[in-house]
């Protein structure tokens, strides 16, 4: 006869740390943690010793010394009298700008190519396949170098734009001329585009270290306000329509509200375009977009577009034919089918890999080194590192900045993923 007895009280033995599954995971974790701490301590100790051997110290004071070098493309004001930190910011802005426009162009191009690849036009389908395969299977570095060479070898020199008195007398045309109604000059040094200028500027304010143009702010505020007013107008019209059955005429009011204030502001501030002009060696005035930027942008966009095209194609193919047929059966028109049925589902498939492509593109901007584009790596990790000889600080700081950019993008991705995730049953 069996009697229920208490299980014998277990005594703790040391070997249970290894063999008892209740304790084993703690043992493993503690061992791992110890090993990790030892590795970190070892690395830190080595670093300290190495710094001592070299007579260096680890501090970031050099960031506040005078940089002394010039940067070709600067979107925030910078001279060679500014600090290394400011040069870092200039580089960071350059990185972000090329990454941003790269993402925009790559997406546009990628979506077009991905859709065209599915088109029933044989020629276009094949051409797009060739495009995707060629761009995906050749290193990005080659595309960057190649577009740089093409840009600077096939475009005219600034002096080819010159019109001299003799040429006018002889009725000759200059070898090259500006495009887009004589506003944009593409030379082998870069692209000169018109710059917006204000006759009566509102000046700018400093926010932190960045100057923000009040003119730009004024425009943004006015545009937002007009759009909001227009919405109110349309909402009002709708309310009237629902109450009375008659919709008041709104189109001219809309136009007035949308464009009136902006145009008024333009004249109030005296906005005009400064067209680049050939003076001396170069085009003066306007904005110079250097070829290193353009080449990097083109190569990044074309390369990433090939990957995005594949993602888009896969996304569309992933939606089963039955979805379309079911939508038609419900009597939805083709465009409603696309916008209500196909796209929301396809986007769920497309967006996560798309964002990881954006991430790749952002990281790949560091290849600007090949065309000496002065991005974050070029300023902080390049010239500053070289002139100050502080590779440890510069490299760590640079990695940290890249890491934060990446983590921010991933965070956005995760938030999006959560919002569109199918709720699992």
């Amino acid at each position: 006869m069996a009697m229920a007895t208490d299980a014998p009280k277990e005594t703790f033995r040391l070997s249970m740390l290894v063999y008892d599954t209740r304790y084993r995971s703690y043992t493993i974790q503690i061992v791992v943690l110890l090993l990790f701490a030892m590795a970190v301590a070892w690395l830190l100790n080595n670093t300290v010793e190495n710094l001592a051997v070299r007579g260096k110290e680890f501090n970031f004071a050099f960031l506040w010394q005078r940089a002394g070098y010039d940067i070709g493309q600067q979107l925030i004001p910078y001279t060679n009298d500014d600090t290394h930190f400011r040069a870092l910011l200039v580089g960071l802005v350059n990185t972000l700008v090329v990454a941003f426009w790269g993402c925009v162009f790559a997406t546009i191009l990628g979506v077009i190519i991905g859709v065209l690849r599915l088109s029933n036009n044989w020629l276009i389908g094949r051409l797009m396949t060739v495009y995707v395969e060629v761009f995906r299977n050749v290193p990005l570095l080659l595309w960057i170098l190649l577009s740089y060479v093409i840009l600077s070898e096939t475009t005219p020199q600034p002096r080819d734009f010159r019109v001299t008195d003799e040429m006018i007398a002889a009725g000759e045309e200059p070898k090259a001329s500006m495009i887009l109604f004589d506003t944009v000059a593409v030379t082998n040094r870069g692209t000169n585009i018109p710059a917006p200028l204000f006759d009566r500027s509102l000046g700018s304010i400093q926010i932190g270290f960045l100057p923000v143009s009040l003119n730009l702010l004024a425009f943004i505020v006015v545009i937002i306000a007009s759009v909001w007013a227009n919405r109110r107008l349309l909402a009002h019209a709708k309310a009237v329509q629902e109450a009375t059955g008659d919709r008041p005429v709104t189109w001219w009011k809309s136009l007035l509200i949308l464009f009136g204030p902006v145009i008024a502001l333009k004249f109030a501030l005296g906005l005009h375009l400064e067209i680049p002009e050939l003076k001396g060696f170069n085009f003066q005035g306007g904005i110079l977009v250097a070829h290193s930027f353009t080449a990097l942008l083109i190569a990044l966009s074309l390369y990433t577009a090939a990957f995005i095209a594949e993602i888009v194609r896969a996304g569309i193919l992933a939606i089963s034919r039955g979805q379309t047929e079911a939508a038609f059966a419900l009597g939805l028109r083709p465009n409603r089918t696309m916008s209500l049925i196909i796209l929301p589902q396809a986007l769920r498939v497309i967006i996560p890999p798309l964002i990881s492509q954006f991430l790749n593109l952002t990281k790949n901007t560091s290849l600007g080194i090949a065309v000496s584009y002065l991005d974050l790596r070029g300023t902080l990790g390049g010239i500053t590192l070289n002139q100050t000889g502080r590779e440890l600080e510069c490299m760590l700081l640079m990695m940290l900045i890249y890491l934060s950019i990446s983590l921010m993008i991933s965070a956005v991705m995760n938030i999006y993923n959560k919002s569109v995730q199918l709720k699992a049953r």
């Binding site: 290894v18 080595n46 276009i124 299977n137």
Partner: protein, 479 residues
């Protein structure tokens, strides 16, 4: 009498109208089905026409025999008139070996060629375990490839005979006992190292013996002290072997039984040889690390998981180029003072970390794709964690991740061009720069880029097609 108006025999059917058959039908359906399609077709034709008309003369005027760019231009001018453009492939003809081998001594070209051929022989058993027919195809092709290329590379007779004998033996073994070819995969890494870097044959053998020590200690100790401590003891024994016994034993053996081939310094590696060495080593060493990281990330243990996630996200969050600069600028800070080793080795280490982080994500995808039931079934059978992983989970997870592993490898292979920025001779920028520093070839741009780009394309396109084929083949669907 009646005249029958009934037909006795049928008329032959008329051919379909012109618009509904042959080329015209095909063109109408595939090229001109709608106004939009017509516009697209016209646009496509224009693009193709523009590309061809812009580049065709250049291709047609190619020069294959010249000793400098100037001479090329003269030949083109003489042939096609002043102002004509033409490709100068003479540069490739003269320098192709540099693009492929870097500065590897020409008399030793057979070694990288042999190592490259054997790489496929080593991969074959992993990809087609036990499939006699596929093994025969791969190993047979390797044998033929080696016979031709080694002969072309003017291999010393002894080496030629030995290599071909090895290849034939492999073919024979694959037919008699297909499972045994896997042993070759295991000895391939040290063999490849020895072939490429040369030196005494005893160094790799004695170094590999460290693993034998590990295994022996493990087997001897496990009945006494249990599995986990025995594994630890094995690792300690192996490390001690490598630290204290390896070099003396190797040098003793070398002095007793001298056998070796010329040692080649790492600085002579360049071109595609360098790219393949870095790419293949990086991916193969990163595979075990990647698996561990993926398991760590899936683990329930908080600390292990945090560390894995931290490592993976850190590596994936920074551009490869900063990691390469770390290899060249920072590694010396993190290692004990006075430590110094080859830049190629340092780059390989960082590339391995890089690839490991990406592979970890790929394998995690594979793990996540396995149905929950597989894990539960393994638990129900009473398998412990490692047995479950080894017998049930990993084989399936790895199999479904093979296509993604291949695409990671393609990405890594393309990225090896970035090593140029730390002063190594990658084919794209490093070798091209050296060629252009030569006065004879100053100012040549298109030809090296097209040449290198074409080779990259062939490699990567081939691999991506192969992985698509694998994907189809491996689809044993869990649906």
């Amino acid at each position: 009498m009646s005249v029958s108006f009934t037909r006795k025999e049928m008329l032959p059917p008329l051919p379909p109208p012109v618009g509904e058959r042959g080329v015209v039908k095909w063109a109408r359906e595939n090229l001109f089905s709608s106004p939009l399609n017509i516009a697209l077709t016209v646009l496509g034709v224009l693009i193709v026409w523009w590309l061809v008309s812009a580049s065709l003369p250049w291709w047609l005027n190619s020069v294959w025999n010249a000793s400098s760019l100037g001479e090329c231009r003269e030949i083109v001018a003489a042939r096609a008139g002043e102002g004509a453009t033409g490709a100068c492939w003479a540069m490739i003809r003269e320098r192709w070996h540099q693009f492929i081998f870097g500065f590897y001594p020409p008399s030793e070209y057979w070694r990288p060629v042999l190592a490259f051929g054997l790489l496929f022989a080593a991969l074959a058993p992993v990809l087609f375990s036990g499939e006699k027919r596929n093994l025969l195809i791969v190993l047979g092709s390797v044998t033929v490839f080696l016979a031709v290329t080694l002969w072309l590379a003017e291999t010393p007779v002894v080496a030629l005979v030995l290599s071909l004998a090895l290849a034939v033996v492999l073919v024979a073994v694959s037919q008699i006992a297909p499972g045994k070819v896997l042993w070759f995969t295991l000895i391939y890494p040290p063999l490849c190292y020895w072939l490429l870097w040369g030196g005494s044959i005893w160094s790799p053998i004695v170094a590999m013996a460290g693993f034998a020590v590990l295994y022996a200690v493990f087997r001897l100790a496990s009945p006494l002290i249990g599995l986990a401590p025995a594994a630890g003891a094995g690792v300690v024994a192996a490390v001690l072997w490598w630290l204290y016994l390896d070099v003396p034993i190797a040098s003793f053996l070398q002095s007793a039984l001298p056998f070796g081939i010329d040692a080649i310094n790492s600085d002579r590696f360049g071109g595609f040889l360098l790219a393949i060495v870095i790419g293949v080593t990086g991916i193969s060493f990163s595979l075990p690390i990647g698996i561990l990281l993926a398991l760590g990330r899936q683990s329930d243990m908080l600390i292990v998981k945090t560390l894995s996630v931290g490592f993976i996200e850190f590596i994936r969050g920074v551009p490869l180029i900063t990691l390469l600069f770390t290899a060249s600028l920072l590694l010396q800070y993190f290692l004990p003072p006075g430590t110094n080793f080859d830049i190629i080795l340092r780059v390989i280490i960082l590339v391995t970390f890089f690839a490991a982080a990406y592979l970890a994500e790929v394998i995690r995808g594979g793990l996540a794709a396995l149905p929950r039931g597989q894990y539960e079934a393994a638990d129900a059978l009473g398998l412990d964690y490692w047995r479950a992983q080894r017998l049930i989970i990993l084989p399936q997870a790895l199999k479904i991740s093979i296509p993604s592993i291949v695409s990671t490898f393609i990405g890594l292979f393309k990225d090896t061009t970035l090593v140029a920025f730390v002063g190594l001779m990658d084919p794209l920028k490093g070798v091209t720069q050296i060629v252009r520093a030569d006065i004879n070839w100053k100012g040549i741009y298109w030809e090296p880029y097209i040449f290198v780009g074409a080779i990259f394309f062939v490699f990567c396109f081939g691999m991506s097609r192969y992985s698509m084929y694998l994907e189809q083949k491996l689809k044993t669907d869990h649906r």
